[in-house]
Subunit: 223 residues, 2 copies
């Protein structure tokens, strides 16, 4: 296996969006359970991205989709909407991520491959102290995952063959999209992405299955 670059999903795989967004919603004083609202907002956002992929909605960046889908969920002031949309730029990483990513960067080229637009990823990586060799974003293809155009950005801009690039993600649909574009895939388990007790996921088709980024570094290092 000649993987020369690892590209990472960000939301869920590297950062804990649910805890951060629930906390932001709780601070904003909106009516309702903050974690349920965070889940509903995330679901509304993901549905909006799929409308973009199908061509039923014009492309707009994640901030714009977050603002529109929040408005469909809650009645908030423009100022509060702005604060809540901005909360998605400053989410905390899972505990293994900063040091695990450094271990992986010592072995291979590492880049994001995220739905998040580049300005959002700049804020996130500065907030979380994460170091990537490059930020690649679905913004560069003006669509969203799992549009094949997103995955093809990685080999194109990293100057590699698709099979030399491995997507790291905790979402089977994302990994399947990568494989459909000829990339390799590594499934990382994030059992707390949707909170304690949420259904167990797995991806039997992934090239690698890892419990965290340190486990991934050990497996990639041996590969």
């Amino acid at each position: 296996m000649t993987v020369r670059a690892l590209v990472f999903d960000v939301f869920g795989t590297l950062v804990d969006w649910r805890t951060g967004i629930a906390a932001a919603l709780a601070r904003s004083g909106v009516v309702g359970d903050p974690e349920e609202l965070a889940d509903a907002w995330r679901m509304g956002f993901l549905l909006a991205t799929q409308e973009v992929v199908r061509g039923d909605r014009p492309w707009a960046n994640v901030d714009a989709l977050h603002a529109a889908t929040l408005d469909a969920l809650l009645d908030v002031s423009p100022e509060e909407r702005g604060r809540l949309v901005a909360a998605w730029h400053r989410l905390d990483p899972w505990p293994d991520v900063p040091s695990g990513l450094e271990a992986l960067r010592s072995q291979r080229v590492v880049a994001t491959l995220s739905n998040g637009h580049i300005a959002m990823l700049v804020d996130m990586t500065r907030h979380a102290g994460l170091r990537f060799d490059a930020l690649l974003s679905a913004e560069l293809a003006q669509t969203y995952k799992a549009d094949p155009a997103v995955y093809s950005l990685a080999p194109r801009y990293l100057g590699l063959e698709p099979h030399e690039v491995m997507l790291v993600a905790c979402h089977p649909l994302d990994l399947a999209g990568a494989r459909a574009a000829g990339l390799r895939s590594a499934y990382v388990d994030r059992p707390l992405e949707h909170g304690p007790g949420s259904p167990v996921r797995a991806d039997p088709d992934a090239d690698i299955r890892a419990v965290d980024l340190h486990d991934l570094a050990a497996q990639v290092g041996n590969a």
Copy 2:
């Protein structure tokens, strides 16, 4: 002055291409003075980029333009051409750059804004140990400096107004291109870019004039 991001020219401003390429040419055993050949190759490459900007040549990345312009200059084997083209991916930074860039990154968002394609910038920043928040490249606009489309990449992908972005470069034409696109400009003196004793440059129109990146950090920090 509300500069929120600094974007950097790379070749000449951050890395010493002439010393590195002359050394690679000397190692390759080609006939001729290595430094004069390095200068001639650089000039041939820059002229090729201007053909792209004028629409007289289809866009191709820097590796392809380096290969074509080397072939116009020297008769080398494909293997030697490959080694010499690759030498442009692994150039050493000027001595102030690694620590000066870190000082600037603690103050502002920092990104490249280079003619180099993203894969080339990944190699260069890994080789030189330089940390950027994002790699922006003329590749994303499929043209070259000083095409206005290159400069507009920076505010677009960093989510800023043009006047919130400052280009850092040692080339007055590059800085003039940035200003024409509404960006701010910082001239950094690199008196050795073209070797000892080369003509003195300056840019009286730049917002900041600095002798190196530490000087720039002091001036930006006070601004």
